[in-house]
Amino acid sequence: MGAILAIAFTTVREAVRRKLVLLAALVGAAFLLLYGLAFHLAVGNPRSIVNAASRALERQGEALFLLLGLYAANMLVATLAILASIDTLSGDIASGAMQTLLSKPLARWQLLLGKWLGFAALLTLLQAALLGGAMAIAYGFTGYLAPHRAAGLALLWLEMLLLLTVTLLWGTRLSTLANGVLSLGLFGLAFLGGWIEQIGALTHHPGAVRVGIVASLIMPSEALWRRAAFEMQPQLLSALAIGPFAGASVPSPLMVAYAVAYTALAFILAVRLFHTRDL
């Protein structure tokens, strides 16, 4: 356990020393500032409310605006989950640092788990700050709180862990560049698949929905976002099924279970592939 924590601690320290944390914090702060400004301009100044019906519509606008913020924040976290961890195995192997580390009484799975924990801790903080920040801004301006926040945030947390784990998995065998192409490519594939499924459902094309589901099976990251957005949008938006984020076709709980199993299997596969890798 001591060795795993030493690796996790070193991973965090690397991110701090290489200014990853500082830059992520700056980008995050800029994001929240911009979002707060937009929120203020768009929905922060409620027009005079004449009746309950217009108030309800107003509320849908606020909810949509919050979902937009969460969407962008989640996109940022997901991209950073891939970028932050893309070089950590291949880079250490190329520099020779890995050979020195693994000549110590440290099993390879321990090194993998240590790095995973370190990145997971950092990304969780970033995610909490961005998603929490977006929610706080929405609440501050309008008093609106999304429903099922815990479930929604847990799903987005799972998406971040999924992307981190998959990036580490390919890092056990691929060079940094190849890993970047594959991990970002899969992420983009899931993203595209999600929209195909949405639009397919809106326009009643079951074939397109199936293509989207297959894309989610290949990489379930976007499906987790859509389930989370579905959880966190007001019932009226769900009922209308017109939201741009999670309206028409909602991933089932089975897909969520699939994503959990996918992440666990990706980690196990990463351990196996790393274990047999010649350094």
Binding site: G2, A3, A6, I7, T10, R13, E14, R17, R18, S95, G96, A97, Q99, T100, L101, L102, S103, K104, P105, L106, A107, T276, D278, L279
Partner: protein, 306 residues
Amino acid sequence: MPALAIETSGLRKVYGRKLALADLSLEVRAGEAFGLLGPNGAGKSTCLKLLLGLARPTAGHGRLLGRPLGDIPTRRRVGFLPEHFHFQDWLSGPEVLRLHGRLFGLAPDLLRRRVPELLERVGLGAQGAKPLREYSKGMQQRLGLAQALVNQPELIFLDEPTSGLDPLGRLLVREVIQEQRQRGAAVFLNSHLLGEVEVSCDRVAFVKDGCLLETRDLRAAAAPSLRLRLRARGVPADFWRRALPRGRADQLPGDAWALELAAEDAIPELLRALLAAGAQVYELTPLSLSLEEIFLRVIGRDGGDA
């Protein structure tokens, strides 16, 4: 402690279609300094990787300190300085040593004492506190050496330990090897620098093209024969066959020969015979059989590039 620090039998490593190590069987005794010599690409580094469990042998097996290769707890008793390494350059020297110490499971108290001692020992001292990105190549190498000693190992692997070091640094490596041996540690030295191996090692193995060619004891009572260098002109072509039926003469460039005689008594007699045969002798110098000559003889002049 087992009598053998390392024993391997038929170790073989194939990367894809490239044969890196054909068949390596060797034994290193506990407390011994053992050198692995060979031209670049002979399989020395592959051998280290297999011994340290960084790569898996395609065939064969071995034991380190009595335990099978790849055994993780055994690594507590092993130190390793890799040939090409680059520590995390955003750490300082003491941080690198503390990290590696923690991975060895050493207590923080112990590390607080040992880390400054080690930095001092490898000549880094106070300037070691800089971040590694400000280290010179030589300082990196010194830190690597300290890192290999942080757990006071019973067996130390040094892969080209003097690369990037100035003469003082090379002297340091030599002294450190001596100290570690006095402490009772076995040292496994990979090098293509013959002088380094000659000074530090008890035994040496020659590898070429992934094969172990020969193992030689460097500490055995002086070489069995006497070596001389002769520079002379006008030596008849068949002279050596007649004058040295039991010795050996290898022609060197510039009218010179390397001679091997059975005993010192044969020198005056040889000189008389040379003069009688009409040769003009310019130089006759006794030599000890240097490792370089052994190396060239065992490996061949074409080295590993053939």
